[in-house]
């Protein structure tokens, strides 16, 4: 009988353990990179990178230069804000964060991002008030 008393809180824990907070996500990347700098992350966000077609691109091309603002995809669909302060769902799903880092780093930088770049960028987004 005693076991059942334990099962209930354990189930609760298992449910909540799946959703990470932005701070937990940052800690994870920080561990891999050995540190994080919001200032470096901010520079990374605004950095203009030449593309194969001769044009310049940056994170801000779609996300606008305000992480609290709604962005726009090339197909003109709105993108929810990047900063957790403006979008509670941002940086709470590890798989989603990795998926979009992989795609968007390839789009802008033509390569995957390093753990350091990811840690810095998360630190920057979380620092936005």
């Amino acid at each position: 009988m005693k076991r059942y008393y334990l099962a209930v809180p354990l189930l609760f824990l298992a449910t909540f353990a799946r959703a990470e907070t932005p701070q937990q996500m940052l800690a994870l990347y920080q561990q891999q990179a050995g540190g994080a700098s919001a200032a470096r992350g901010e520079k990374f966000f605004f950095a203009k990178v030449p593309q194969a077609n001769g044009e310049m691109a940056s994170c801000t091309s779609c996300h606008t230069d305000n992480p609290k603002a709604i962005g726009k995809t090339r197909a003109h669909k709105p993108i929810d804000p990047l900063a957790p302060v403006a979008n509670r769902e941002r940086l709470t799903d590890p798989a989603k964060v990795e998926k979009w880092f992989k795609r968007n780093c390839k789009d802008v930088l033509a390569r995957e991002c390093t753990a350091q770049e990811k840690a810095d960028f998360l630190a920057f987004l979380i620092s936005v008030k």
Binding site: T73, R74, A75, H76, K77, R103, N104, K106, D107
Partner: protein
């Protein structure tokens, strides 16, 4: 022939019938022309960047080509896991414009495309061209439209699969 209730009734009935016939246009039936995506993963992944275009807008060979080149999707990396890619491809191919369940409009899209072509852009299918040929280039450039990929900018009920003429509202700016 005098004015009787019988032929007055006939006149009224004829008037109503022709009014209905004139006012009824293709796409007004209860069924949406292009039923929206019902497969959850397909809807979620496609709609992350653009409207989840109904599978019936392209033939199976186009969807196969599209899903095999997701890492270079119109100049962007839209790659998915192999499992997601397979599941989404299965849904799109099974509901494509040339699938067994395709409706009349979908078949018109499919039959307009050369057998050896597999267009990736819906806007490059001959049927799309035929239905949009009166839209001037300047209209496509309006800020609220911006892209031919932006169906919902003018087709107000596109997300329900309905593209009926009377639902079109072209933004002025």
């Amino acid at each position: 022939m005098g004015l009787t209730f019988k032929n007055l009734g006939l006149l009224v009935a004829t008037l109503f019938a022709s009014a209905f016939w004139l006012g009824y246009s293709w796409g007004d039936s209860g069924q949406p022309s292009f039923p929206p995506v019902t497969h959850q993963a397909t809807a979620a992944e496609c709609a992350a960047c653009h409207m989840a275009y109904p599978a019936g807008l392209l033939p199976a060979r186009s969807w196969q080509r599209m899903m095999a080149t997701l890492d270079r999707h119109f100049g962007e990396d839209a790659s998915l896991s192999p499992e997601e890619t397979a599941a989404i491809t299965r849904y799109l191919v099974g509901n494509a414009a040339d699938s067994a369940t395709a409706n009349e409009r979908m078949r018109r899209i499919a039959s307009g495309i050369a057998f050896n072509a597999a267009p990736l852009r819906i806007t490059e299918t001959p049927y799309f061209g035929y239905l949009h040929d009166e839209v001037p280039a300047s209209v496509w450039k309006r800020a609220k439209i911006g892209s031919r990929a932006n169906c919902i900018a003018c087709h107000t009920r596109a997300e329900t699969g309905s593209f009926a003429e009377r639902e079109i509202k072209i933004p002025k700016d």
